[in-house]
């Protein structure tokens, strides 16, 4: 009897080597989880700490996340201090050495990506909640999505060598889909190159740069600081002067002020989705851009109609 139990235990212990158990991937953002799903396919099981419809700056360090992290094989973070407000205590509590920075189970997705707005000179909090390592919303440039996918594929292959060929094939498929997507998005937004837009938070520099759009201003006077009346007046004047046609707002902000601004300037207020899962239609990384590009292109088409 004892022997049987012992054998069962051995079989159970050996099971992961046999490839039955998936690689458990925890990501800070749903975008990273989506890319990891595309690249990892059946071999991985992903969980995202932040949901796509929530402000990624203010995630609560819930103890249930500790459980997820304690069992994780790979942790993928956006980096650039995006997770500074909740991840460090979770990592400590996870008791999981594999996924701590410096180990193979920790991947900073920002590595190798095009990071914009790295502050030069002196950085102080007089600038608001500024990120000293650059704008952390870099996944909103599809080129960076490709860099992230490659890094994830490489890391998964390292953690799970038998799956390497599968990861390579999945990566190629993902890159193919992304390349097709970029053609669609370029076609849709190409006619509006150079158009000025206003966004709520400064979340979109990579997106705007990629599609040759320009941020004329932000509803937040400084990152993380809600708009005050004087700033709103200034912004309204600027938008009227430059004929800014749209305001892009993340779904988790209060829409009262942007609505007022839209009302006074005639600009259209668009809910722009910054992450996979932000709305149902943004079901994966490519669908996220499909959704946002369509919303923006439709609005700009109406606005520029003679």
């Amino acid at each position: 009897m004892r022997k049987t139990i012992f054998l069962c235990l051995i079989v159970l212990a050996a099971a992961p080597i046999g490839g039955a158990a998936p690689i458990r991937v925890v990501t800070s953002l749903q975008d990273l989880a989506s890319i990891a799903d595309s690249v990892g396919g059946e071999r991985v099981e992903t969980f995202s700490l932040a949901k796509g419809y929530q402000d990624p700056h203010f995630v609560e360090p819930k103890p249930s996340f500790v459980l997820r992290l304690s069992r994780a094989d790979l942790l993928i973070v956006a980096g650039l201090d995006m997770e500074i407000g909740y991840l460090p205590p979770l990592l400590d509590q996870s008791r999981n050495g594999k996924i701590r920075p410096g180990n193979a189970g920790y991947l900073d997705a920002s590595t190798g990506c095009e990071i914009l707005e790295r502050p030069r000179g002196i950085v102080t909090r007089a600038m608001g909640d500024v990120h000293p390592f650059g704008n952390p919303h870099y996944w909103l440039g599809p080129g960076n999505g490709r860099v992230i996918a490659r890094a994830i594929a490489a890391r998964l292959s390292q953690l799970d060598p038998p799956g390497a060929s599968e990861y390579r094939a999945n990566l190629a498929r993902f890159e193919g889909r992304l390349a097709e997507g970029e053609k669609r998005w370029d076609a849709a937004l190409g006619p509006f190159a150079g158009t000025e837009v206003v966004t709520y938070h400064n979340s979109w520099p990579n997106f705007l740069k990629r599609f040759r759009l320009v941020a004329a201003g932000f509803v937040e006077p400084k990152p993380g600081i809600p708009p005050a009346p004087a700033h709103v007046v200034q912004l309204v004047n600027l938008m009227k002067q430059r004929k800014v046609p749209v305001i892009l707002m993340e779904p988790y902000f209060d829409e009262r002020t942007p609505k007022t601004i839209a009302g006074r300037t005639g600009a259209r207020l668009l809910t722009f989705i910054p992450s996979v899962g932000g709305v149902k239609a943004a079901s994966d990384y490519v669908a996220l851009f499909d959704h946002d590009v369509k919303v923006l292109a439709d609005a700009l088409r109406v606005a520029t109609r003679p």
């Binding site: 980096g79 008791r95 701590r100 410096g102 920002s110 594929a153 490489a154 992304l178």
Partner: protein, 393 residues
């Protein structure tokens, strides 16, 4: 009790030894050695994936983020200072705080020690003294889901005792903590803490914490001899209910010598509950937190054993991005006289100009045993500079 003490110390010793001894990485991973961290591109994909796709590639021209911040202060700990200014008006002969005071400035130093541990120091500076509020090392990569803390730290009894001044949802400390768990400073002592996760079905978090202390904590425990240690056992379970709701329940038992006679002890029992609601969609910045603790203190003293009770319930609601409103009801007997009971009610209004400062007004009425009633207005301004580590939930 006598028999469990050596056993507990042995357990702690074995746990600590496991860290010191087992310095190889906890789980074998096919990684380059930690030495390679110094390289400016530690995260560069090991294998170059397939050929570039037809569309233009935004070449990673800039170096990775980490390289940009390499500077001589790289290994310095994160340092932060939190100022806590308190103004009080109204008459209170029992708790006679100054009208205006820089109540406490907390200086924190936090850093990773090595691949196996991190350290946290919190120094409290007041007009009268500089005190090591907490200073401990945490071994984070132990086997068997263990987490060991060694140093001086706040005992894990309930939730309020663990909170630093600037984390409290009020400008003061509730009566049960004032009267039964060591006053403003709380139960805070040098010792060792061992915590283990016991995951329950349905993604329920549960943790058992055992702590042993020197047995000296102002206003609570006093150790006449070296063998008069204080002990604590704490268990908590936490569960999410969908994205928006979660509940934590916990219980704590603690015991130590109180110094009134050579073998007089105080035993503490505490139950805590925290319910949180924070909708992730639909209603931005709405949030609700309900906190409650029930405490019993059984104190042996020459005049006889005192069994004192304390209770508080506090609710806080977030009105908008920057505003919170809250209320609290509380009562507690005196630890050394269970016939004397203090009661109180409070309402709070809190404003957050940014993430780094906070202004709070608290209207408070406390009816003390003996018939004194105090109506007071407390106004608190907190401000933080530097890099203060994130707090656990």
């Amino acid at each position: 009790m006598r028999a469990t003490r050596p056993f507990f110390l042995l357990l702690v010793f074995i746990g600590t030894a496991a860290v010191v001894n087992g310095q190889e990485p906890p789980a074998p991973t096919p990684t380059p050695s930690p030495g390679s961290e110094v390289s400016p591109t530690p995260e560069a994909p090991a294998e170059t994936p397939p050929e570039p796709s037809p569309t233009e590639l935004p070449a990673p021209v800039e170096a990775p983020a980490a390289a940009a911040v390499q500077n001589p202060t790289y290994f310095n700990p994160a340092i932060a200072v939190i100022g806590n200014f308190l103004g009080v008006s109204g008459k209170n002969p029992i708790e006679d705080r100054p009208s205006l005071e820089m109540r406490e400035s907390e200086i924190s130093f936090q850093a990773i020690v090595d691949p196996f541990a991190r350290a946290d120091f919190f120094v409290a500076v007041t007009n009268e003294e500089v005190e090591l509020e907490e200073g401990f090392v945490t071994f984070t990569s132990l086997p068997a889901d263990l987490l060991i803390k060694v140093g001086k730290f706040k005992a894990q009894i309930g939730k309020v005792n663990l909170m630093h001044l600037h984390m409290l949802p009020w400008a003061d400390v509730p009566l049960p903590n004032e009267n039964l768990i060591g006053g403003d400073e709380g139960w805070n002592d040098a010792g060792v803490s061992v915590a283990r996760l016991f995951p329950l079905p349905g993604d329920t978090f549960s943790e058992l914490v055992l702590q042993v202390f020197r047995g000296e904590s102002e206003g609570l425990f006093e150790a006449p001899s070296r063998n008069d240690l204080a002990y604590l056992a704490h268990y908590r379970a936490y569960r999410d209910f969908g994205d928006d709701h979660n509940l934590e329940l916990g219980s704590t038992w603690g015991r130590g010598s109180n110094g009134t006679t050579d073998d007089a002890r105080t035993t503490l029992e505490n139950l805590h509950l925290v319910y949180r609601w924070k909708p992730l969609t639909g209603r931005p910045y709405r949030q609700f937190i309900l906190r409650s603790e029930l405490t019993r203190s059984r104190r042996e003293q020459p005049e006889g054993k005192q069994s004192a009770r304390g209770f508080f319930v506090g609710a806080d609601y977030r009105l908008s991005r920057r505003w919170w409103a809250g209320g609290r009801y509380e009562f507690a007997d005196h630890a050394d006289d269970d016939t004397a009971r203090d009661r109180g009610e409070a309402v709070t209004l809190t404003f957050w100009p940014s993430e780094f400062s906070q202004l709070r007004a608290e209207g408070r009425r406390r009816k003390y045993a003996g018939g004194v009633t105090a109506n007071e207005l407390l106004v608190q301004l907190q401000f933080s500079i530097g890099a203060h580590g994130a707090h656990s939930f």
